[in-house]
Symmetry: C2
Subunit: 225 residues, 2 copies
DNA sequence: ACTAAAACATGATAAATATCATATTTAAAT
DNA sequence: ATTTAAATATGATATTTATCATGTTTTAGT
C-alpha cells in the first residue's frame, strides 16, 4: 500500500499540516477503498469512525428534505476530506455522500485523527480555516437560494462547476451530472432545469454533446438575470 | 471595567476554554461598547481587528444580494461571539452585523486571540466545534430555502425564534422583528410575509399585540405544510 | 442487436409568489 | 397635539415555477 507521505493528494488538504511521524502513523492504519459511480460512501445519519481522504473522483453531498427530495449541498473532489464535520462535532453525519464517478478513497480511523487534533495545533488550525471557508460558501449559497431565480441559480451552478472542476479536452464540463442532479443543486424541479438548459442552448450560452454540457459563452452566462 | 474572569456570558462561548492567565490578559486589553438598536456593528467587507463578545442584546447578520436585498443569515444573541469566521480566515467580513435592540459588546483585539489560538488547543478545538455546528445549521437552512414554501419557512422562522430566543412575560416573542426582517430571513417579499402572517392569525396559530407576535398554537405551526 | 428502463424533452395547466397600487395604522419628530 | 414618515395591510395582476401528461431519446442489460 502506498504511503501518505508520498501521496500528492495530501498537498491539497489539511493533512499537509501533519508531521512526518504523524503521517507515518496514519499511513500504517489507513485503509484504501474503491467506490463505483453511484455508490453511497456514507448515509445521512450514519456514525462514521473516521474521515475519508479523496484520492480520486468526485462525489456529491446531499441532504434529504422533508418533502422527500434530495438537496445537493456540495460537490467534493480529489484532494478534499470527507466527514470532518461529524468527526469534530462527534455526531452522526448530516449528509449522504454519493460517488459521481469511480472513486478511490483512503479511510483514516477517528482515534488517529483525534490524537493529531489534540497534539498538532497547526493541523487543528488548518481544519478550522477550511471550515471557516466552507461556512462562508454556505452563506453565499443561502443568499442565492433565497434571492435568485432558477435561471440565475442554474447559470451560476454551471459557472461554478466549470471553475472548480474544469473541463474535458473537448471543452465539456468534466463533472457529469444528470438533469435531476442539477435540479437538486439549484433546488427546483427536473423539468425546470431541462427547460432552462434548452433556453441557454437557444441563447447560445451552452451546447451539449450527448449528456455533456459545454459552455460556449461564459460572459453570457455571467450576465444572466 | 469588569473582568472577563467574572463575566457570566463567557460560560456560553469558546472563551470558557481559556485559562485564568489568558483571561486576565484579554480582560486587560478588551474594550467595551454600547450599541443602540438599529446601529451597524460592522459592515460587509470591513476588516475587523478582533472579535466581539456579546454581553447583552441581539443582532442580525445580513448579506447584501446582487438584487439589492438584504438576506438575514443568522440571529446572534448574548453569550455568542461575532467575527470569529473572518478572524480565522484572515479575511474581510462576509456579513454585516446590525443591532436588533440595545447591545453591550466587548471587543477583543485580534493579536490577543490569535495568540491564544496558537497556544491553547482546547480553545481552538472549542471554536472548531462551534464552527462545525454553524456549518450543520447552514446546511439545514440551504435545504429549507431550496425545498420548502414561504409558508413553511415562515412557520419555521417563528418556531426557531421562539425556541432560541424565548418569549416575554406576556408570551410574545422576545426578539422584535419587522415584517421586512422576517421577509429577509425567509427570503421572500415583505407583502408575502404580511399575507402569510395574516393567514396564521386567521388559522389561530399566532396572535399579535402591537408589533409583537405571540405563538398560540405551536403544534399547528409545526404541522404547517 | 434487441428490449426494457431510465433519462431527457416539451406542452398544458395549476399553484405559488412577486410586483404594483393604494389604503390604513403606527411610530417618530417637531 | 399635530404633522410626517414609516410600517402594516390588502387587492389586483403579472410572473415564475411546479405539476401532470405524454412523447422521444439514450443507456444498460441480456
Amino acid at each position: 500500500m502506498s504511503k501518505c507521505e508520498q501521496c500528492i493528494v495530501r498537498q491539497f488538504n489539511s493533512l499537509k499540516a501533519l508531521t512526518k511521524e504523524e503521517l507515518l502513523r496514519i499511513s500504517a492504519c489507513k485503509t484504501s477503498r474503491i467506490i463505483k459511480k453511484g455508490e453511497v460512501i456514507f448515509e445521512e445519519g450514519e456514525s462514521l469512525n473516521g474521515i475519508f481522504c479523496i484520492k480520486d473522483g468526485v462525489c456529491k453531498l446531499t441532504k434529504l428534505s422533508a418533502n422527500g427530495k434530495d438537496q445537493i449541498i456540495k460537490l467534493v473532489e480529489k484532494g478534499q476530506i470527507l466527514g470532518q464535520r461529524s468527526l469534530i462535532s462527534d455526531e452522526r453525519t448530516n449528509l449522504r455522500a454519493t460517488a459521481l464517478n469511480d472513486m478511490e478513497l483512503c479511510f483514516i480511523p477517528k482515534a488517529e485523527i483525534i490524537n493529531d487534533l489534540k497534539k498538532n495545533n497547526n493541523f487543528t488550525m488548518d481544519i478550522l480555516k477550511n471550515m471557516a471557508d466552507d461556512l462562508r460558501e454556505a452563506d453565499d449559497v443561502i443568499v442565492n437560494m433565497a434571492q435568485k431565480s432558477v435561471r440565475q441559480r442554474l447559470a451560476e451552478a454551471l459557472l461554478d462547476i466549470d471553475e472548480n472542476f474544469g473541463t474535458n479536452p473537448d471543452g465539456t464540463l468534466s463533472v457529469l451530472l444528470s438533469r435531476e442532479d442539477f435540479a437538486s443543486i439549484v433546488g427546483t424541479a427536473t423539468e425546470s432545469v431541462i427547460r432552462v438548459l434548452s433556453q441557454f442552448k437557444k441563447e447560445g450560452f451552452i451546447s451539449t454533446i450527448g449528456k455533456y454540457i459545454k459552455i460556449e459563452d461564459i460572459e453570457g452566462l455571467r450576465r444572466v438575470e
